[in-house]
Symmetry: C2
Subunit: 254 residues, 2 copies
Amino acid sequence: PATVYAVANQKGGVAKTTTTIALAAAFAERGLAVLACDLDPQACLTFSLGYDPDALEPTLHDVIAGQARLPQTILQHAETDLAPASIELAGSEVALLSRTGREYLLRSELAAVVDSYDVVLLDCPPSLGVLTVNGLTAADAVIVPVQCETLSHRGVAQLLDTIADVRRLTNPGLDVAGLVATMFDGRTRHARAVLADVEQRYGLDVLGAPVRKSVRFAEAPHEGVSILAYDDSVPGAAAYRIIAAELAGLDVEP
Amino acid sequence: PATVYAVANQKGGVAKTTTTIALAAAFAERGLAVLACDLDPQACLTFSLGYDPDALEPTLHDVIAGQARLPQTILQHAETDLAPASIELAGSEVALLSRTGREYLLRSELAAVVDSYDVVLLDCPPSLGVLTVNGLTAADAVIVPVQCETLSHRGVAQLLDTIADVRRLTNPGLDVAGLVATMFDGRTRHARAVLADVEQRYGLDVLGAPVRKSVRFAEAPHEGVSILAYDDSVPGAAAYRIIAAELAGLDVEP
Ligand SMILES: Nc1ncnc2c1ncn2[C@@H]1O[C@H](COP(=O)(O)OP(=O)(O)OP(=O)(O)O)[C@@H](O)[C@H]1O
Ligand SMILES: Nc1ncnc2c1ncn2[C@@H]1O[C@H](COP(=O)(O)OP(=O)(O)OP(=O)(O)O)[C@@H](O)[C@H]1O
Ligand SMILES: [Mg+2]
Ligand SMILES: [Mg+2]
């Protein structure tokens, strides 16, 4: 069955969605069958792959409402399969809170598809609420995108606490795959200092190589494609390929 | 009484907190009495001003729980008064959902302090949930930080929908003060194109001047001070002063 990765960090704007798309595309390039799941009511993953979330049906919202099953929502993007989100997911979050076994909903829905894929990536929203907990409960491992700035490492501590709770209560097998150093500004000492601090403080590895900043990343969603399809000459594209290869246990192609 | 501004944008990492701190400091420099309120369970505003949110008591969480009043939480930072948050606020968010009149809690708590200040700034979390709705219901006007990248304008549409709902249902007097163009990368056409697109599409003004990117913004939280105190030679510091002057109806000092 597929390896399921939750891409999580409750801090906003640290490139969770960008990382999900880039890794999905990188895995797919290596011939793996990939599903990316959008767990964010803001549906940025869905939008960034060229879809209008408000025009899609069914989405994860309908699955949570019991009106559809996850396979019915899946779309086939050129670079990855996608289980989309929509703004209605905000309502689902509230509805889920009062349901028994609410943490397991995504895990049980994914059971129907994990044998059809090699990798599943779960793009979590910027919070530690019920949707992220569903992602962590459904995952084999957590990928933590970290933007190397002062406010980053405080968030990592809170996330690791939540992961510890999930391990204890709903998903004993949950691992931390490692950190992805995102939007890395190699020109300043600040980013390197913060990265070294986070690695040492939490004993977590940085996967592959830091992903350098490039405005091309901000442009790619406009075209509905990953950075690999949009401009794979930027150093960050190669970094994501190295990260994917490391996760998949594959050789890094030259 | 004070003018109350909600600093809101549900997209993560667009410099809501940075804008709240910079504007608070800029207003205070002009002799205004300022209160900054942290509405985010991640308590980045609180942390960025040099406090350990986990060590503070009481905080907004205790106010929502009915165990303290807002004035009891207020701390006096060198640059601004602060009503702090803590991670327990995540629990408050859930508890609030089932309470009658939940949208008005912050507004009613602020009533006790609005005559003691000239400006109140409310730093909202990256969501359109009950804490942000409390901020919008308590505010006279909304300041919308916008990071000028592709994913930005989609979020603005959703935010304006929420503002329209709040106007209709809980706060008819709510205005939109305007946009703050944050983390502006003037070297690329992309940022300028996105900014022009957002301005035109929603008919909103950009306040003052765009705030240019500088790594110094990422370093300032480490020192627990605003950019004005940390390094006011960066262009973004002057931009925030111009924005504050415009909001306060004051002349822009040379
Ligand atoms: N390497 C990079 N260089 C430059 N910009 C980047 C890079 N990676 C991501 N970005 C941009 O940074 C912004 C935030 O990225 P993204 O939306 O992926 O973060 P996120 O953590 O998913 O945000 P949220 O918390 O809102 O879900 C986007 O505009 C994105 O295009
Ligand atoms: N003008 C700027 N130049 C460079 N970095 C900036 C600038 N403004 C803010 N930053 C940095 O960008 C990151 C995100 O900013 P900030 O935390 O203020 O955003 P936010 O919208 O409050 O995030 P959240 O959605 O998590 O609440 C921080 O590391 C901050 O220091
Ligand atoms: Mg995202
Ligand atoms: Mg913030």
